[in-house]
Subunit: 274 residues, 2 copies
């Protein structure tokens, strides 16, 4: 079973080799986007540098990744630096370099968690079961889309749809998603899934305009022990934009287990043209 996991495209794409004080990695054709790699796989690879680091304590609770420039296809270096280690929390700087230039910056907070009073305020969305929803076609879409089984219940991108002819009023998307082939969920795959939504502006508008995420933040609401209990189950993603204004729009997203556990909440700010 272990060898199967190790050979999963996601594990190959996020694989890092330690070299002195940094890591070496390589982009993967499987997760290619329109320009460079899918941002979710880059975020997962940045997180992996901390997870692989011998000094890390606890589990990730917060991750911010800033996309300073497009990642070029090929090899890259990642440096993860523990900025401060407390008794139960740890703060990291993460940098990705290509040709000695910074391409991606990031910070992560790790923590040892324990049981406390807990409460989920957000309501699990009313959705049909995954078996009743239809998978999207990845035809003509970047290759990262083929690494997922995505069933969009609401908010299919207008820009990719022949049925939608004009602008639609809502950018909200609800989708069932799992890795394809299936893979047990962990912090790497959950990180990538937080970004595995089509751009909100393509949901709203017919027009395809140049876009790029400039900053992505993920809060992990569960620890590794709880995450392991979900196995390779499908998860539900909900994403929406609050505002598109003069070149930037936001996206907030939540990822749920099918039983209604809130696994992660996320936000990102995205550049767009026109």
């Amino acid at each position: 079973m272990k060898s199967i996991k190790e050979n999963h495209p996601l594990d190959i794409a996020t694989q890092l080799i330690r070299k002195e004080d940094h890591y070496l990695g390589h982009t993967s054709d499987h997760y290619a986007n329109m320009v460079g790699p899918f941002g979710g796989i880059t975020a997962a690879t940045m997180l992996n540098a901390v997870l692989q680091h011998t000094e890390h304590i606890g589990d990730p609770v917060s991750l911010t990744i800033n996309y300073a420039a497009p990642v070029s296809d090929g090899s890259f270096e990642i440096k993860a630096t523990p900025a401060r280690t407390n008794r139960a929390t740890q703060h990291w700087f993460i940098e990705l370099f290509q040709d000695d230039e910074i391409v991606i910056t990031g910070t992560a907070v790790f923590a040892k968690r324990r049981e406390t009073w807990s409460s989920t305020e957000l309501k699990f969305p009313a959705v049909p079961n995954p078996e009743e929803a239809y998978p999207i076609s990845s035809k003509g879409l970047p290759s990262w889309v083929r690494q997922y089984d995505i069933k969009i219940i609401q908010g299919l991108p207008s820009a990719f749809s022949h049925h939608v002819q004009t602008e639609v009023p809502s950018s909200t998307t609800l989708q069932w998603i799992h890795d394809e082939p299936k893979r047990n969920i962990d912090f790497l795959s959950l990180t990538a899934i937080c970004d595995a939504f089509f751009p909100r502006i393509y949901v709203r508008r017919k027009q395809i305009v140049p876009i790029g995420t400039i900053s992505l933040t993920i809060y992990f609401h569960v620890d590794s022990k709880q995450l392991q209990t979900y196995g390779d189950e499908v998860v539900l993603g909900h994403a929406t934009a609050n505002q598109f204004h003069n070149g930037f729009f936001d996206q907030t997203a939540e990822i749920w287990s099918p039983k209604g556990d809130l696994l992660a909440t996320s936000s990102q700010f995205v550049y767009y043209k026109e």
Copy 2:
């Protein structure tokens, strides 16, 4: 008029003096919290290090501040480093040191913005006018609260209220807020206002437990030119938590102009005990 602005407590608290490759600052009694300074003023001061930096271009669009340890009362050093400068965007690392140890880490993205197709999807909340709402009493609360005129329309902290006897089902707060004394809004005051909500867990529960923000992210939806048009008007803040789970809860927040312009969206992840 300029001297009045310069003497505002917020300007004194966020003031930085350039010394070689870094800045010197000092905590302000006006913005003291239960332990150390109010997180919003620390975030504003971190942002100010970039705004003061001669190499910065454009306006802030994204800011993430990680609270690695409590800031001690007294002096501190901030180092702002441009990680990458593109034609229209710029990425920064920001670090705050006390006694040569990192206390706060952060990243910021700046950008030159221009007019594009725009749309606000989120609806402006149904609220009474500020004149019809009552200011909260700052009696017994940390001194930063006195630097604001806060009128809570919904979601008064249960933990501070004699009227609320048990846990309440919603953590949502709606509040009118402005600096006290009044001050023209800018990116510094807007940053602080994004964090000027009482902790969501104190809204939900009667019990006061130890809490601390570990990471705060703000997306600025307007540029400095648009921000200037609001003068010293009151703004509306909306904040809610999606989930409290095993030691961490999230908060998402939006800041609106009274006319219904969405100025900033924000999220934070907060540690809590018990």
